[in-house]
């Protein structure tokens, strides 16, 4: 696909605005904000009528100790219809991938096929209890066992546990396994190498596992790991290197096999952060590159709905050498063909989660993998990369790239040019909301000033990508010609630009009866003043 100059003429701008117009009628340019349910309360109103009581009535004070009784909770008193309308209206204000495009870099906000939801909703799965006897949950155990087999084949790392429930949780599990393996071999090591482009969870994982996180720089020209810096810092005190492939700039680490070889030469494990596995799924097996361990964000790569904080999945995949250290129990297939939990794991690091992790996430991923099959998964990686490069080539002349080369599943724009117009990346992100798009990830990775990180994923059509590019180019034009429009954005949402600084410095997190709006504001101001004066 040849790069073509961006069209910043009126036609494109109109196309972008037409897109925003397709997102429902706006109430005078702004949707109506929905009050809190507390503010709808009317004394004495209630949502249901209970049948007559068929046991003797007792005063509540006889049933609950007086000290535990509270009358100050001010619970909302509302009718059933009030409740239904309130939450339905809130749900209409929600932004979701089922309704809109979500180019949130590093988050892989792909569409989650409804087939996976249907399977997860089957009563046989939905009504399981984790304490049921094994013989009554053979199907669920088989799902966990076979998911392990599938992930082992996809990653080239045959030891798998689906117990971790998030990416950072998978990292922590992996580095604790590295620690256990070093200790068992009598090797005392203190350091974990981490590139400066890494997700912040990597150094946090190293620290939580008792290691010192040592930062390795990146090559400004290639956007890859600074190989000389890596070699200088690699020694026999390194327990592991945690490396993200492709890295957070969306670039493949072309020296990865050499990095693995040098690390192994000094007994250092290679942990691959699988956050960006969507670019490689079906294309490259990390195990074949020399990686020893990798976690997979099931909720990203294998399509479990996410964005609201979970439930997610952070399955850990390891070499057969590290397999004995996996969290216990593991799901095993017995000689008679039945499935069960194997608790006899003397080298295991132990449990990392109650019961067996988020089974529902594992189930959705299992369904997703089987429904796509080998060829389908190959297309996932290929189209994720194709879509990212298509969008990159449409945007690159209006928005300079931090590293201008073919990318993998995502790319990072450098928003510093906005400063010439008194703007920042934040203003661009807010303006995108007016065009009907969820803003991309901004200010990450930390190595890119004014970063704008875009990941379209494989599930978006060319038409969606064109419309999004149209909006981005229209905003670039606005930035040059009417920067104030960006300063004031968003102007189409129920509430405009939030004061994020004040929200962080003086968070006011609690609704209190009788204090609303300006009253709460002046109270908070007064408190702040008092606090400041008390200090000085």
């Amino acid at each position: 696909m040849a790069d073509s100059p961006p069209k910043t003429n009126g036609a494109v701008a109109t196309a972008g605005l037409a897109e925003s117009g397709s997102h429902g009628p706006l109430n005078g340019g702004r949707k109506t904000p929905e009050p809190l349910i507390f503010e709808k309360s009317v004394p004495g109103r209630r949502a249901g009528s209970l049948p007559p009581c068929d046991v003797p009535r007792k005063p509540v004070a006889e049933l609950i100790p007086e000290a535990e009784l509270r009358t100050d909770l001010s619970l909302p008193e509302v009718g059933e219809l009030d409740v239904v309308r309130h939450f339905t209206r809130l749900s209409k204000l929600n932004y979701s991938v089922d309704a809109e495009f979500y180019p949130l870099g590093s988050c892989t906000m792909k569409y989650n096929p409804k087939l996976d939801e249907n399977v997860a909703a089957l009563p046989g799965f939905r009504q399981l209890h984790p304490l049921q006897p094994e013989e009554t949950v053979q199907g669920a155990l088989r799902v966990l066992y076979e998911l392990g087999q599938l992930l082992g084949e996809i990653t080239g790392l045959p030891g798998v546990s689906a117990q971790p429930v998030a990416g950072a949780h998978g990292e922590f599990t992996g580095i604790m396994m590295v620690r256990a393996a070093h200790i068992k071999a009598g090797r005392m090591r203190r350091k974990v190498l981490i590139p400066d482009s890494a997700h912040g969870t990597n150094p946090a994982t190293a620290a939580m596992s008792g290691y010192e996180a040592v930062t390795v720089g990146h090559d400004r020209r290639t956007g890859e790991l600074d190989f000389a810096d890596f070699k200088a810092k690699l020694d026999e005190d390194c327990a592991a290197i945690m490396i993200t492939v492709p890295n957070t700039l969306g670039l493949f680490e072309r020296q990865i096999t050499e990095i693995c070889r040098l690390a192994h030469d000094v007994g250092c494990y290679v942990y691959c952060d699988g956050a960006n596995m969507n670019a490689m799924v079906g294309q490259v097996r990390p195990g074949d590159l020399g990686v020893d361990l990798l976690h997979i964000n099931l909720h990203k790569t294998f399509a479990v709905p996410h964005g609201g904080g979970g439930p997610g999945g952070g399955a850990i995949c390891v070499t057969s050498d590290l397999e004995p250290f996996l969290p216990a129990p593991v799901v095993a297939r017995r000689e008679n063909g039945s499935y069960g939990f194997d608790h006899h794991r003397p080298d295991s690091i132990g449990r990392v989660h109650g019961f067996h992790g988020n089974f529902n996430a594992a189930l959705r991923s299992y369904t997703y993998i089987l429904s796509l099959g080998k060829e389908g998964l190959y297309d996932v990686g290929a189209n994720a990369v194709l879509n990212a490069n298509y969008l990159r080539s449409k945007l690159r002349q209006a928005y300079p790239l931090y590293v201008d080369r073919i990318c993998m599943h995502e790319f990072v724009l450098d928003g510093r040019w906005l400063r010439e117009h008194g703007l920042r990346t934040l203003d661009l992100a807010k303006r995108l909301i007016d065009y009907g798009y969820h803003p991309p990830t901004i200010y990450f990775p930390l190595i890119v000033p004014e970063a704008i990180m875009i990941e379209p994923t494989e599930t978006e059509s060319r038409q969606t990508l064109d419309a999004f590019a149209g909006a981005m180019l229209a905003i670039a034009q606005e930035a040059r010609e009417q920067p104030e429009v960006l300063h004031e954005a968003p102007s189409s949402t129920p509430i405009g630009r939030l004061d994020e600084v004040r929200a962080a410095r003086r968070p006011d997190l609690r609704w209190r009866a009788g204090i609303a709006g300006e009253a709460a504001e002046s109270l908070s101001e007064a408190r702040h003043e008092a606090a400041v004066q008390g200090r000085y």
């Binding site: 510093r416 920042r424 200010y443 990450f444 930390l446 000033p449 600084v501 410095r505 606090a531 200090r535």
Partner: protein, 128 residues
């Protein structure tokens, strides 16, 4: 804007100013601009040791949390308690009211390894 001539600077954008026996430490104008509005500063207690080139605390803005690196080794005499309630002093007056630590230096020769104002200004110029 030229950086104050009475300070020395690190590549991580901290400054240190020696007044008598006491070294005062903070972050530079460039650092505060890059961070954006500072919302929280985490500093060590008086009496804690700091080591040149090692982290001594963290600064959080609405954009990101960043480690702070000590420009000089020694013992913390005082941390700027006013930043707990007015972290914006780091933005408004990074070389004055936004100071972070007062340190009893262990080895004054460490200052020789830092940049002076002119060297730091041209270093920052190269980052743009």
């Amino acid at each position: 804007m030229a950086s104050p001539a009475d300070c020395k600077y690190t590549k991580e954008h901290e400054w240190v100013r020696l007044e008598g026996e006491t070294a005062t430490v903070g972050i530079t104008e460039f650092a505060q601009q890059e961070l954006g509005d500072v919302v929280f500063v985490e500093l060590p207690a008086a009496g804690s040791p700091v080591e040149q080139g090692q982290t001594f605390g963290a600064v959080e803005s609405v954009k990101a949390a960043s480690d702070l690196y000590a420009p000089i080794s020694g013992q913390v005499l005082e941390a700027n308690a006013a930043l707990e309630d007015t972290p914006d002093a780091v933005n408004k007056d990074p070389y004055g009211a936004g100071w972070m630590l007062k340190v009893q230096p262990a080895d004054l020769s460490e200052l020789d390894s830092l940049m002076d104002a002119a060297a730091y200004d041209s270093y920052v110029q190269g980052l743009h």
